[in-house]
């Protein structure tokens, strides 16, 4: 089984107080809502939650505003709840309703 290919993470900003960069991944219908962008780096205040990130993305307007207020989300490839606090470099994936099989 091939190992997971490393994703490029946002560079840490150790010298910048009070903010963290997270990489947001979008898939399937969510990606199309966002104009086809598969990933984007978002800067958030420290101690921001998953729900706060969703609010930030929706506030971009356009198709972004159609992203769900509460979505299934994976942080660093594990399902996480909306109150999960995000840290520098986290990989946050919005998971549309899944349809494998």
């Amino acid at each position: 089984m091939p190992g997971p290919p490393g994703r490029v993470r946002a560079a840490p900003h150790a010298d910048r107080d009070g903010a963290v960069d997270v990489t947001v991944l979008l898939f399937a219908a969510h990606r199309e809502l966002a104009g086809g962008r598969a990933d984007t780096v978002v800067t958030l205040p420290e101690r921001s939650t998953v729900d706060a990130l969703l609010a930030e993305l929706r506030a971009r307007g356009g198709g972004w505003a159609s992203l769900p207020r509460r979505a299934a989300v994976a942080v660093n490839r594990r399902y996480a709840s909306g109150d999960t606090v995000l840290a520098e470099g986290d990989e946050v994936a919005l998971i549309p309703p899944v349809a494998g099989g």
Binding site: P4, F27, A71, A99, G101
Partner: protein, 168 residues
């Protein structure tokens, strides 16, 4: 061997079956999901599977490990395909062997039902008239209603992309 994979390569059912079995096993259960030629009466030309590759690999490995523990068998494996599939192609294959049939059937069933609820994979159905749409799925973390699905791609209500964005 307990194994799993997520791949863009064509799935060979014989190769999946060949990886289970032992002299102590009297039962082998095999399940394959196959792309159908219609959905709700609409002619289908193929199915496009998109996945969150790294997480899908990890999640499928976790599901197979859970099934192995429940079945008490380490002769178990599953593989899920990604990419564009034609009608008749295998999208998922599962094989389990165990001393008796009940454990093998139950483990195979567990894997297919769990991956439909949890695996970060999405499918876009393509039609003969060249239209295409994402199929509705399960929002992870919410239990699906009782009863389950009767067909591989059955029970999927269609929804537009705008509706998909409002899910949850």
């Amino acid at each position: 061997m307990i194994w799993s994979d997520v791949t863009t390569e064509s799935i060979d059912p014989g190769a999946v079956l060949a990886r289970v079995g032992s002299p102590a096993d009297g039962a082998v259960a095999f399940f394959a999901g196959v792309v159908r030629n219609e959905n709700e009466g609409r002619p289908v030309s193929g199915m496009e599977y998109e996945g969150y590759d790294e997480m899908a690999r990890e999640e499928l490995a976790a599901i197979v490990a859970e099934a192995a523990e429940r079945a008490g068998s380490d002769r178990i494996g599953a593989v899920h395909r990604l990419g564009r599939l034609a009608v008749g192609e295998v999208s998922v294959a599962i094989a389990v062997s165990s001393p008796h049939r009940a454990e093998a059937f139950a483990a195979a069933r567990y894997i297919i039902e769990e991956l439909k609820k949890r695996l970060p994979v999405w499918k876009r159905e393509h039609y003969l008239d060249r239209d295409a749409q994402w199929l509705e799925g399960h929002l992870p973390g919410q239990e699906a209603g009782p009863g389950g699905e009767t067909g591989e791609h059955g029970g999927n209500r269609h929804l537009t992309e705008r509706e998909a964005g409002r899910q949850g």
